[in-house]
Symmetry: C2
Subunit: 128 residues, 2 copies
Amino acid sequence: MDITIREATLTVGEAAERVGLTTYTLRWYEQEGLVAPVGRDSARRRRYTERDVDWLFLLTRLRRTGMPLRDMRRYAEMARQGDATLAARRALFETHRARVLSRMAELEEDLKVLNYKIDNYRRAEECR
Amino acid sequence: MDITIREATLTVGEAAERVGLTTYTLRWYEQEGLVAPVGRDSARRRRYTERDVDWLFLLTRLRRTGMPLRDMRRYAEMARQGDATLAARRALFETHRARVLSRMAELEEDLKVLNYKIDNYRRAEECR
DNA sequence: GGTTGACTTCGCGTGCACTCGAACTGGAAG
DNA sequence: CTTCCAGTTCGAGTGCACGCGAAGTCAACC
């Protein structure tokens, strides 16, 4: 068995590639407190662990669901405070989930409008 | 039967209220070419017809589904050109619908992440 | 006939989320 | 040792979609 514990650390560029953000954004997220200060190597270059990448991935999902950076920062702060904030973090996610669900409902409605318009155009094209 | 053809025209304020946009936005949309120049009354004040309101409503749906104003402008231009652009307009809607559908699929995925996190928090809260 | 209030145009300001340029540094390859 | 590249900090710039204040106009009401 060769279970190496060696933390495969990544550079900004590699981490950015992995999570689909730019290096600019990664540094900026850190500066904005969305990410805890990332470890550095001997040359003060950032080295991202798998845990860092997982965290960043979560951030991209929150972002994609429309969570403002302001809320992501609050969440990050809570996460840094440990288990005492578990309930609060869950509440934040539940609130956010509700928003996502109503967003999805909106999209369903909007989709109906699109379908209706497409049908209309199709008919109008036929009757020319 | 009392089918009145009288066009119930609305002021900016009323139209804004109806479609859920501000008066600022309504004027700005017009300036940006998203809306054909709106009719005016004797005092040069805008008067919105039901057709104008319907159009604005459609714009809000396109907007809400994430269509950039740039595309909405292109669409508005085509609409002003009449039947010759019917097919192009349909194509535009079909492309957009595809985007909306994949956006919805994304949200479904993101929802899974949220649910997973909420479950985890719930478990962590129990095992304290 | 004065006040009120919603309208007009114009252009500058705001918030958000990046995005980039400049000037520099440090390790690795040839 | 030079070249090269990916990294560093800092602050300024960008794109989008509005939001708003100022100064003026106009119809309606008291």
